[in-house]
Symmetry: C2
Subunit: 197 residues, 2 copies
């Protein structure tokens, strides 16, 4: 149906998340018909990123520089450390206006998959905390069973260190309808209720 190079491109595009056979065909033919320079730029950007990007030596997020933009910025609040599960979470928290520091785990604890504290970078987190001058550590792992367990593990580990340890709040998301919220979330929202005035 398609010539070998086009078939190879369609197959390669399918490794992108959310791209199936039809989208891959459309992407391949559109690049070939309308934007070959864009296709070549994308190829170069991919090669440079795949070969050049490592991890920030301080927060462990993805970065080709020794210090990522967040760690290199001298104007950020050095008393706050936000612990997240991955680089995309840094972006999400950053969007809220948070301007403290970050530490990026390699996912969450998952003993069944053999992922213990060393595998997800807990020793590096401890070293980072020891080297820093934080007063509070915000545990912003995902609100999943594994994320909760990971937050709990870190909280136990740091108990007695004199740091304030906090966990992001669970509750009803803004803009939703109460009747559509699951029971567990609603229970958290009730238990965590706050006085209005």
């Amino acid at each position: 149906m398609f010539s070998p190079l086009i078939r190879q491109l369609i197959d390669a595009l399918r490794i992108l998340p959310g791209v199936g056979q039809k989208s891959a065909q459309r992407m391949a033919l559109q690049l070939l018909e309308r934007d070959r320079n864009g296709g070549l730029r994308l190829a170069q950007a991919l090669t440079q990123a795949m070969e050049g990007v490592g991890h920030c030596k301080q927060c462990r997020t993805l970065s080709e520089e020794e210090l990522c933009p967040q760690c290199a910025d001298p104007r950020r609040d050095d008393s706050l450390l936000c612990v997240v599960e991955g680089p995309l979470d840094v972006f999400a928290v950053e969007q809220t206006g948070y301007r403290g520091r970050f530490f990026v785990l390699k996912g969450h604890l998952s003993p069944l998959d053999g992922l213990g504290p060393e595998a997800i970078g807990i020793p590096e987190l401890e070293a980072r905390i020891k080297a820093g001058s934080f007063s509070e550590v915000i545990l912003a792992t995902n609100p999943t069973v594994e994320g909760e367990a990971t937050a709990h593990y870190i909280a136990q580990l740091l108990a007695g260190s004199g740091l304030v340890l906090s966990r992001i709040a669970h509750g009803v998301p803004l803009g939703g309808e109460l009747e559509l919220v699951d029971g567990g979330t609603l229970a958290h929202a009730l238990a965590g209720r706050r006085p209005i005035v």
Copy 2:
């Protein structure tokens, strides 16, 4: 927020059709975190395709070989020629089980954009027909105003050549509901009605 190489990759991914800022971020970070070899393979496939793919010298579809798989296949019906607007249409028609030959225009006539018969490859179509031994030419341009105009233009051009000229049927798509079909399509479906037995 992201280091320069990651930002460059996110920007480059956005040239893909249907990929916005959020999907591009997810794609970039997923490749970096989980599948760097896949990312490098994609880069190579892109480079090879963008630099290597030209056009089939017979049907003008995208192909890096002189003759595309359809034109090179000796078992296809040489009496039928299906004229389409682009390489993706070849794929769509092929899926129906059609096993004649193809000719791929470069889109449709669009005088306002300066796209006349030469720009979309009508002279090459005429040459292909002259060189072949077709008995029927199926005009399968899109059922849009421009596609209809293009089909009409080609039909005028080939009138008197002794070829059977046909246009794909307009009507109600299978599986739809009559009340959801637009008036123009329904009018075509009525006008093109066929005896049941």
